[in-house]
Symmetry: C2
Subunit: 376 residues, 2 copies
């Protein structure tokens, strides 16, 4: 297997475990730490590929299960694959859909074979197996495929978390067997283990032993308290090999992202920037603002002074408020572009600051402005 | 008053009354025949100023009444005017809101003073007078202002249409008095008269006699049959002076636009391209298609082969169907950009063909493809 991950720097201050790197995929490389905008159904909500390129996204995420249910992986394959379908020629990571399968409607519990679910589009029953997840992601032409896993719920006692973890491990092995590495796409294994550090370490050990090109920590951001989350990440990353990319799934707020980077994560995805944008929340270095607030009715400033995004370059808070209040379809685009640009700037700044050994200072400076009352 | 309208060509074949020209405004010139995308509340629905420039819009339309009610004309003025507010530096025509005032909720009938209405945003009562409409449009910084008029309903008998027309004439005189031409913005008078050719001619005569820089035919596209509409346009344009721009308000379908051009209209506005886009209808030279139709589920073609718009350059009908079915917020943008580009291409093609004397041939060629079963 070629060297798909180059580490360019590890925080030289030694104060964090952060690293800067580059992951190579069939659709080119992307820099890490990377934040992946989420395009679950083949579109980052409200944001076109032209906007994604302009705001600096290096890789985006989509969801194999959703695309399998609609319009169908074969349909997308016949149209030239997901990149061609959605007009994005950069790297794409696809989640298998294990997380969504459970939240959609798992019809049978604890089925070792896979996840039996009912399509939210037409009620069709589908048994999502590890093999089907790999086949689907291959048809889509994904650059980075994810193993089907079982997202251990929170809270779950140690016994339940261990059972769930065992299923994830068995499915990881089946995924690996179903994967044809000669085709170029990468496959990442997912470590689970609930919020029990012992299980987290055990899962990371087991997944790491299988020889995936990259690894992920799954089962996080389920509503758990921050210290539990950080403990689980730390336990997972203490075991996952350092020479392969680490993807922290489903996180998070800007502070979560920085936390993750300092613990050694290389890749992130989260719906927060786009979902919150649609609800009128715009991220700024001084914390998020709700653009519908009456205080912005006459505000001539851009959402964030100094921001170079499409929204900030051309529009005032007053105008964005007008769009939001009138539910103008232009609003989701402008707000999402702004928030995604904010996230891209965040990970790029972290990358720069870790390279020169001042990431921890950056973290403190960021928190001082962003959430002055938050205890880091 | 400077010469704001240059006629570059009148159909040399003599078979139509079409002309090609150029209107000069404080924000630069635009070519005619012109189709104006509609941005009622300060945003062309789903389409950013970057998209509008890319698709070739020379002038856009907004609505003074809506902006007066929200966020307020003074607010927009304090933010630098409508152009700055919405990030569009080309010409803007503002309708006074007479048409909308009636459809919103006129609280008192036949008030010679103005239109008493209740704001759909907060219930505030507003008396929209000709003077307030001019003041509002001045505050917005409109390039082309429209007189407040009464849109005569259809059907209306001759007596009712005559009464309504008299009100429009009185309001036109008051608008003219309230207008300060030294500030650069143009003011167009609106001829009404229902669908009674005698009244149409009388109204055009009366409005023309007042000396506006441009004229409009109002009160059309209310659901009337095509022959009534064409008769009313013909009667109006037979009287309106040829050396001033003629704006055909609220029209229409692609065929309506070509009909209007052949009768001598220079400017058009209509919500059809953007509203129909949001409902999944995409215009093509072979007639509109409904992208939600199952026949497009695997269709690799762009909405229209040969179209150079953002949607057609990058996406298949199958992908646009996926966006439409999933109610993705990217859909309104792509579909509206396509339809607006279709309309821009239509008026540009008409402009070229009229200049070389083959507009009537173009009309027939267009109909043959677009609506082969329609009697022209």
């Amino acid at each position: 297997m070629p060297d798909i991950f180059q580490i360019e720097a590890v925080d030289p201050s030694g104060k964090t475990k952060a690293r800067a790197g580059r992951v190579h995929t069939p659709h080119g490389p992307f820099e890490t730490p990377a934040f992946m905008p989420v395009g679950t159904k083949g579109s980052v909500k409200g944001v076109g590929p032209d906007d994604l390129r302009a705001l600096g996204a290096g890789i985006i995420l989509s969801n194999a299960l959703h695309l399998m249910l609609r319009p169908g992986a074969e349909t997308i394959a016949s149209l030239g694959g997901l990149h061609s379908f959605m007009g994005w020629d950069g790297p794409i990571l696809t989640d298998s859909g294990g997380f969504q399968a459970h939240s959609l409607r798992a019809l049978r519990k604890d089925d070792p074979d896979g996840i039996l679910l009912s399509s939210p589009y037409d009620g069709t029953r589908v048994l999502l197996t590890p093999e089907l997840a790999i086949r689907t992601q291959s048809l889509l032409g994904s650059d980075i495929m994810m193993c089907l896993d079982e997202c251990t719920p929170w809270p779950a006692d140690e016994r339940e978390a261990a059972r769930s973890m065992g299923l994830t491990h068995a499915w990881a092995r089946r995924s690996l067997n179903a994967w044809d590495p000669s085709k170029g796409a990468l496959l990442f294994g997912i470590a689970q283990g609930g919020f029990h550090p012992r299980l987290r370490r055990e899962s990371a050990q087991e997944i790491a032993s299988m020889g995936f090109p990259g690894h992920a920590a799954g089962g996080l951001a389920l509503g758990e308290p921050r210290d539990l989350r950080l403990g689980a990440i730390e336990a997972t990353f203490s075991v996952l090999p350092e020479d392969k990319p680490r993807y922290l799934m489903g996180l998070g707020t800007p502070v979560d992202i920085l936390d993750g980077i300092m613990l050694g994560a290389d890749m992130f995805d989260c719906v927060i920037p786009t979902r919150n944008a649609r609800n009128g929340q715009l991220f700024t270095n001084r914390g998020p603002i709700n653009i519908g607030n009456a205080r912005y009715a006459n505000d001539p400033l851009p959402p964030e002074e100094g921001c170079d995004c499409l929204a900030c370059r051309s529009f005032s808070r007053a105008y964005l408020r007008q769009l939001h209040k009138n539910r103008e379809p232009l609003f989701p685009r402008l707000a999402s572009v702004h928030n995604l640009r904010f996230y891209q700037r965040l990970v790029r700044m972290a990358r720069e600051r870790l390279k020169n050994g001042t990431l921890l200072d950056y973290y403190k400076e960021f928190l001082d402005q962003y959430a002055p009352d938050a205890a880091p």
